[in-house]
Symmetry: C2
Subunit: 243 residues, 2 copies
């Protein structure tokens, strides 16, 4: 049974400032917990409710806590029933692989669910290096991690000044007008920039992007959702580079 | 100024049972309101806060209400500040166009935001006919409408027994294994089936789908998000059929 002090600390990790202060985060749900214990992350403890443990096999060493305590420490309205406490990994630009075929660059993605879904999609297409503008939402937000469906464990990510980072790089971004993405012939290593849900790619970044591409539409919608556009473009670039 | 009775009724429309009972729904936010007043929907009234009306141009006839009342009738934690009250449209299978090149068929999509994003993506690719299994979330849910970014106004949609509907039809569905979507040569009219976020396409529907396709991955994620997969496949089928 974890101590009250530990439970109080876990509850504090709901806020990003405490995740930064303690260098720890929680991930909830079977998929996320399963993946984090088999990853490069250092896991401190795994907590589950007896209800969860009765219905599912739980990892060795899982501590059982009452449902009411799980409710208090969970970051979800409906607690998934299993939670892992792990140490954050802090990457910086020197950790990036300069020869990674595709690096995903995210400009102002503010919705945790969108960020998680984009990281999951990237992982599907073999893209595991992500550079985020400093105003993107927190990678270790529980909703972000949950939406990645475990893909966060394979992601090397850096928050930095995106405009500075992209200078002199082979960058491509998705806009409402530009080269048809189907005619675009990417060269590796490439840096794919995805803009925010509401404002797209900001001007200061748009002006340094080397290649502007677009996804032709056949209907009357004004734009595509950022995550959907990112998915369509990642599929095309990854497939082209895979030959 | 709308009467208390009208405001009470609008607040009741937060629940789908009252939307069905009254045959009315609300749409919030500038984009949704702008689109609904220029659509086939019959709009009864438009309400905005003075704060919204000062910062934005509002449609002729907009009634100004206090912010506290907008808070009470809004379906969002942060009320967008403008709301339209309109009559629902009730389509049935006889309203569907048998010759529509692509009909989107949704099996058990339960998240309103996902449903809205899928409808928006479909509209981008010129797909405006959607058939939903009866357990899909409500089309007129405020979050669904908002996520469509106005595309709901162009969508003809029917809730029905999806397995029965698809019988003897030229159907295709996205699975974890099947024909590579890039090798797939669709023939119009085609019925594209998208499965639920957590369970994919249910077995009773999977077994009657004529063509099973898949989106090849190059990484380690187990699956793609339903909306992302739908977006990638819609783009490919729409582009193929557009020649």
């Amino acid at each position: 049974m974890p101590s009250q002090a530990i439970l109080k600390k876990i509850a504090a990790l709901k806020l990003s400032k405490y995740r930064q202060k303690y260098g720890q985060f929680t991930v909830e749900g079977r998929k996320g917990v399963d993946e984090v214990i088999h990853s490069r992350y250092k896991v401190h403890s795994i907590l589950a409710t007896s209800e969860f443990a009765e219905k599912n096999s739980v990892p060795h060493g899982t501590e059982i806590i009452p449902e009411i305590q799980m409710k208090q420490i969970s970051q979800f309205a409906t607690a998934p029933g299993i939670l892992a406490l792990a140490e954050t990994l802090n990457y910086n630009v020197s950790n990036l692989n300069d020869n990674a075929p595709i690096t995903l660059c995210l400009d102002g993605i503010s919705d945790p669910g969108n960020l998680g879904t984009i990281i999951r999609t990237a992982d599907w297409f073999g893209i595991n290096q992500v550079v985020l503008s400093t105003d993107c939402t927190d990678f270790y937000n529980a909703k972000t991690l949950s939406s990645t469906m475990g893909s966060f464990t394979r992601c090397v990510f850096v928050y930095t000044d995106l405009a500075g980072f992209l200078k002199d790089k082979n960058s491509v971004g998705c806009f409402l007008s530009g080269t048809d993405v189907n005619q675009f012939k990417p060269k590796s290593p490439i840096f794919l920039v995805v803009g925010s849900e509401s404002h797209g790619i900001r001007d200061s970044i748009a002006k340094i992007i080397r290649e502007k591409i677009t996804i032709p539409g056949y209907g009357k919608a004004e734009s595509l959702n950022a995550g959907i556009a990112a998915g369509i473009v990642m599929e095309k670039i990854a497939r082209f580079l895979a030959g």
